[in-house]
Amino acid sequence: MKKMLIVTAVALLAFGMLFQTAIAVPPHPGARPLKVAVVVPASATDQGWNQMGADGVRVLQDKWHLTVEVAENQGYGDIKPVLRDLARKGFDLIIAHASGYQTMAPEVSAERDVRVSIVENPDAIKRGLVSNYEGEAQKGAYLAGVLAAKMTRRNVVGVVTSAEVPDWNRMTVGFMEGVHSVNPKIKLLYNVIGEAAYEDAAGGKRNTEAQIAAGADVIFGMGDGASFGIMKACEENKARDGGKVWFIDVIGDKSGIDSKKILLGSVLWRFDVIYEMMLIDIYAGRFGGDYRQTLENGGIELALYNEIPQDAMNALKQAREGIVSGRINVSNMPGTKEMRDYKKRLFR
């Protein structure tokens, strides 16, 4: 009898431990499908920031059995009503995919007790409710700078950007450092299309044409919808030496519309990498962190298109290894003023 009691007690203890473990281990995602919404300011077909943000969730949809809603074209104004509506619909995670939403989303999160992810506001992180995510895109842009410096024939490269926001500033600095690391004598032209000219494709074209006229033969464009105009200018115009004007894009992949074969590369941002980390943390009960897209985790990469000379490929390989090993330190400068001052110092 005593023996039976001991066996029963041990069995109960073992079962209890097993049960406890079963609680601690996240359940299979299929057992409780999450509802995830992503809110983007412009069209989710812009092959840039908005599309990559929306596609990042869609990529995970089947794997994680997600219910996904994409709220696009929400603009840069007050999106609290949209966020409240999504909270009311019972979404488990709302990804507020614009730096302009970084203060409104935490407010709605506190008000409606809903998980949100915001861009570039780590100060607002709150355990269980608010996560922050940012890309170390400056490292990808550094590689783009190395590529541009290797491909320029006249030693003049241009940067055209639709705004001076933290991500664009970081990439500008990374690009400048990459160019400078190869050849400090290269001249760098820098144009801002407008204060928030993300969709001003015609403005992007005008600015790029002016840079080409001033001698640039490689253009690094950051613009969402405006980047189509930047690319168009590179397609339509010849460089001062009569050769091609190369274009390096950011965030998305425009190789499908590169009929003139002028697209050299793109600093791709893969948001699915960090979104998946968020989902894991939701199941593990530790949501509320700071997530980074890096070269190391594959969140940032420089995609290459068309024919890149071996010399440039070797330089890119070395630069990438240098960044990953820590031998090359790429500056992280989100601020506009510090970026401008740095540019003046670097390219006197």
Binding site: T45, N73, E164, V192, A201, A214, F228
Partner: protein
């Protein structure tokens, strides 16, 4: 003065001048149309929406037919439909013109974005090889000014329309009717002018030109449609109409000034002048506001401006 040397170096100057004229084309076209509408006493804040719908429809038509002229016609047709719709709202239903105009603009922004999404999903189609310019023989090879004569055919049309619009508005019976309806619709009606029909005709005319302006953006200057690609050009056109005091012959100066200031925003950036970038970027808008303050201060608005008319 190195920056002056750079500014007036031929390749750079040619691009700035050419860019100025290209950038001002849709604004000139929209402004001519709005000039007629406002002279007839109606304010159409939905002008931006007309341009955007023109840009979208012309892009779709050009994409399907690979013919730029069919695209331009589609853009004009879309503008006309929206003009008639706006006319129905403000002429027949007598809805507040400002509210209706803004409503139309917001509606079109949403509609075009939705349709683009429905039609193309996550793809981004481009109209290939139909955006060629039309160089004028000999003149398009003259140094420094060649870009004036190497523009798209729509740009030449916009220049030709300026004197024609002035002639129609000030030298024809139709123009007289438009101005009479804008000044005093009751008196015009008493003299046998059909106020409703005249206002509808100005809106249809505006629809043609605003649609053409939008079409120029999407299939002449560029080769694709981007969400809200008009970027406030319709509102700039409205401001320029007021600057020109409803005189089509002066519209070119306003549009050209805006274009020059716009070109300077990127020209000055490339020259690397030590001027705050924020100041450079707001230059075109500051110029328009300043000129509005100076030139439009004593402007006499059309007597029945923005007022609905109801026949007794």
């Amino acid at each position: 003065m190195w920056f002056l040397r750079m500014l007036f170096s031929e390749p750079f100057f040619v691009v700035l001048l050419g860019g100025t004229l290209t950038a001002s084309t849709p604004i000139i076209l929209a402004a001519i149309g709005e000039n007629f509408v406002e002279s007839g006493g109606v304010l159409n804040l939905g002008l931006e929406g007309m341009m955007l719908l023109g840009a979208f429809c012309s892009f779709i038509a050009a994409l399907l037919t690979e013919n730029i002229y069919i695209g331009l016609l589609a853009g004009m047709g879309a503008g006309v439909i929206l003009g008639i719709f706006f006319g129905f709202l403000v002429i027949h239903l007598r809805i507040n013109q400002i509210v209706a105009g803004l409503g139309v603009e917001i509606f079109v922004i949403g509609l075009t974005s939705l349709l683009h999404r429905v039609l193309f999903g996550s793809e981004f189609p481009v109209v290939a090889d139909i955006t060629a310019k039309t160089p004028i023989p000999f003149l398009s090879t003259v140094p420094y000014i060649n870009s004036i004569f190497n523009q798209h055919v729509v740009t030449y049309i916009s220049w030709a329309l300026l004197p024609i619009a002035w002639w129609v508005l000030y030298k024809t019976n139709f123009g007289l009717n438009v101005r009479a309806v804008g000044e005093n619709p009751v008196a015009a009606d008493a003299h046998g002018v059909n106020v409703y029909r005249t206002r509808y005709m100005t809106l249809i005319f505006e629809g043609v030109l605003a649609g053409l302006g939008g079409a120029f953006l999407s299939i002449c200057d560029l080769a694709f449609f981007v969400f809200h690609m008009t970027q406030g050009r319709g509102f700039i056109a409205i401001a320029i109409v007021m600057l020109a005091k409803w005189n089509p012959s002066k519209l070119f100066y306003g549009a050209f000034l805006f274009g020059v200031c716009h070109s300077l925003t990127f020209g000055l950036q490339i020259l690397g002048l030590d001027v705050p970038r924020e100041f450079i970027l707001m230059l075109p808008y500051v110029a328009v506001i300043l000129l509005l303050c100076i030139l439009a201060r004593n402007t006499k608005l059309p007597g029945a401006f923005c007022l609905p008319y109801e026949r007794e």
